[in-house]
């Protein structure tokens, strides 16, 4: 049985920073920070509670980390941008993510669904974003 928790990168660890850079790039792609009605919050205001409620290093994190790495590698090999996923333009990241939505590879579709759910559950749990769409939020 996998018990998880085998990897607990220290803050500032280069590998952790790499995963987090990809995750931040995904948060930006999945949400709509550029939309005029989107509240004035930054990526970190979503990333922080997401990593509070889902530890990249804990149980279940291994599969997710593998997904982050696979996305980054596939982007480098296929997107033709000449930049890693976190550094690529927003439009290029979104276009690439759309390819994973209808991908023939189950791992890619599963990862897309998972990261989308994680980001949206966290983001819409923020009172400021819930209010921005007219929702009362948590009771």
């Amino acid at each position: 049985m996998k018990t998880g928790g085998e990897i607990e990168p220290a803050p500032g660890n280069a590998t952790t920073d790499h995963w987090r850079a990809i995750l931040r790039a995904l948060i930006e792609a999945i949400l709509a920070f550029e939309h005029p009605a989107f509240p004035a919050i930054g990526i970190e205001e979503v990333e922080r509670p997401l990593l509070r409620d889902f530890s990249l290093a804990a149980e279940g994190g291994a599969t997710f980390r593998a997904g982050l790495a696979a996305l980054d590698e596939a982007f480098a090999a296929q997107a033709g941008i000449g930049a890693p996923f976190p550094a690529a333009p927003l439009a290029a990241r979104r276009a690439f993510l759309r390819r994973w939505v209808r991908s023939e590879a189950p791992m890619q579709r599963r990862f897309y669904a998972r990261v989308k759910a994680m980001v949206l559950m966290t983001a819409y749990g923020l009172p400021v974003l819930a209010r921005a769409i007219g929702h009362e939020g948590r009771q």
């Binding site: 709509a32 939309h35 409620d53 279940g60 559950m121």
Partner: protein, 527 residues
């Protein structure tokens, strides 16, 4: 690493809909020493924060990320004390006598009488009707008041009526619900009467030992051939996670020695446990014939506020097409984040849709899928997890297309101005199934149900089927293994096919029935 040995008379593996009832019933009717183990944590109401991502990590198998192997169906399951009854939305449908009669006839099952005066298997007063009545009373199953039917459910009922389809109220296992809309993330006020707050409390009050965070690696057997019997199990107790109630046992290796082993880990984990334990399987029946009740959401955009999140999520449903086409329409609405995740797309287009959240109404289709031998659960030793291999049959796809078409019609009939499905697949001439006119419902006949359509499942069944023929079943009418003595498998995996309804009450009733039988027949197990 600490190693603990525990002696007991009965070991129950899994604390969900079946395990808690079995433990409580045996504790009520016998003086046996009972241990109930649960792989997940014990998260009581004090831990139900309504932070969706956190609660999914705490309460669901694989942190909510479990899917079929092809990623086409999200297979949700509670992995916590109370199991699925902790995370479901309290919808109660009674066992369907027609289905059970069919199982008795086709699989030569004995017992399971719905006659209140029957004494099945020679046990005085044992019958399904009596057990169902007890379960309903303990869970406070009741019909909600009209005032508890929110606008989303009222619109659904109106749409059904306008489309010439019958709709009726669900019964719910609730007591004092305030309609916060976070059922799926665990009830923060114990209004939901799942087994964690009912049968489990009864069990513990009567001396049952609950061990949580305990993953069972394997059941232990002794003897060979026809003399093979279950004598216990071994596993590991993990560190108690933040938010969980404390564990009575230390973390580390654990070995249980028991006179009777009952497996109630659900239709994914029960067969996986049997497989990795080396349970004999000469006919390849363990894990075969998985049923999922695949579900598909229907989303409507109205020109007025619906505020579907206000009030009880699900109070209305339609069984109009159950007999003819094998599907339900059931009204539900997910919390904000989970709902956002099911809507198609991302980025600005998704946000535009979310800005209309007050005007969104939803309900779902639940297909009673057929049994196919290719659909199965298999323990993968290399991956160290159960794999779920499942594809909709051609006939089931056709029924789901028909259901989607009816669902879109109902949503338009309810007054929606636009209707969409949670799919990112092209539906020519549309980019995605997003309709702005009722006439477009007919396009559902072309739905591919490919991998970019997100179907859901919360009702896994049928992977350790009951039947008197060992060539086609894993357990007999007593839920006893055909091949291993003193081993009972009793949960939704025991159903030979779809139970024909949301399965919670059927599972609890089966468990109450087998619990009563086990108590009366304990000498059969040397107890």
């Amino acid at each position: 690493m600490t190693s603990t040995s525990i002696e007991c008379d009965v070991l129950v593996i899994g604390s969900g809909a079946a395990g808690s009832v079995l433990a409580a019933t045996l504790a009520e009717l016998t003086p046996l020493r009972i241990v109930l183990v649960e792989r997940g944590g014990y998260f009581g109401r004090e831990a139900m924060t309504q932070r969706e991502l956190q609660m999914i990590q705490r309460l669901y198998a694989d942190g909510g990320a479990r899917t079929t192997d092809d990623g086409a169906i999200a297979v949700r399951g509670g992995e916590c004390v109370g199991g699925g009854t902790t995370v479901n939305v309290a919808l109660c449908l009674d066992p369907v006598p027609r289905i059970w009669d069919g199982w008795r006839r086709e699989r030569h099952l004995t017992g399971f009488s719905f006659d209140r005066d029957a004494s099945d298997l020679g046990v005085p007063g044992l019958n399904m009707a009596a057990c169902l009545a007890e379960v309903r009373a303990r869970l406070n199953v009741h019909e909600p008041d009209d005032a508890e039917v929110n606008e989303n459910n009222r619109l659904f009922a109106r749409g059904c009526r306008a489309a010439g389809i019958g709709a009726r109220k669900f019964e719910l296992n609730m007591r004092g619900c305030v309609g916060c809309g976070f059922c799926f993330a665990g009830c923060a006020i114990d209004a939901k009467q799942g087994t964690m707050v009912t049968y489990l409390q009864d069990a513990v009050a009567r001396g049952v030992t609950l061990v949580h965070h305990c993953a069972i690696d394997a059941i232990d057997f002794e003897g060979e051939g026809g003399a093979r019997r279950a004598v216990g199990a071994r596993g590991r107790i993990a560190t108690t996670r933040e938010g969980s109630r404390p564990n009575p046992m230390p973390e580390g290796l654990v070995r249980f020695r028991a006179g009777l082993v009952i497996v109630s880990a659900g239709a994914i984990e029960s067969p996986a446990l049997l497989q990795r334990s080396g349970h004999p399987d000469p006919h390849g029946t363990i894990g075969r014939g998985l049923v999922l009740h695949p579900s598909l959401g229907i989303v409507g955009i109205f020109d007025h506020d619906v505020v579907a999140s206000a009030g009880i999520e699900g109070t209305m449903y339609s069984d109009q097409f159950v007999a003819s086409h094998g599907f339900f329409l059931q009204c539900l609405f997910a919390p904000l984040g989970a709902g956002a995740a099911t809507l198609p797309g991302f980025g600005p287009e998704h946000f535009e849709l979310m800005r209309q959240v007050r005007r969104l109404g939803t309900f779902g289709i639940m297909l009673l899928d057929s049994v196919g031998d290719d659909n199965h659960v298999v323990w993968d030793q290399a991956l160290e997890r159960a794999r779920i291999i499942y594809r909709l049959s051609m006939a089931d796809r056709a029924r789901l297309r028909f259901a989607a078409e009816r669902g879109v019609e109902v949503m338009f009939a309810a007054g929606a101005k636009e209707v969409l499905l949670p799919s990112e697949e092209a539906l020519p001439p549309l980019d995605t199934p997003w309709f702005n006119d009722r006439s477009q419902a007919a396009l559902c006949r072309q739905l591919p149900f490919g991998p970019a359509t997100v179907l859901g499942s919360s009702h896994c069944q049928g992977t350790a089927k009951m039947g008197e023929d060992p060539a086609t079943s894993v357990v007999d009418s007593r839920c006893e293994s055909h091949h291993v003595r003193n081993l009972v498998v009793c949960d939704s995996s025991s159903f030979p096919s779809s139970c024909g309804a949301n399965p919670m009450v059927s599972i609890l009733t089966l468990a109450r029935y087998q619990g009563r039988r086990l108590a009366a027949e304990r000498a059969r197990y040397g107890l």
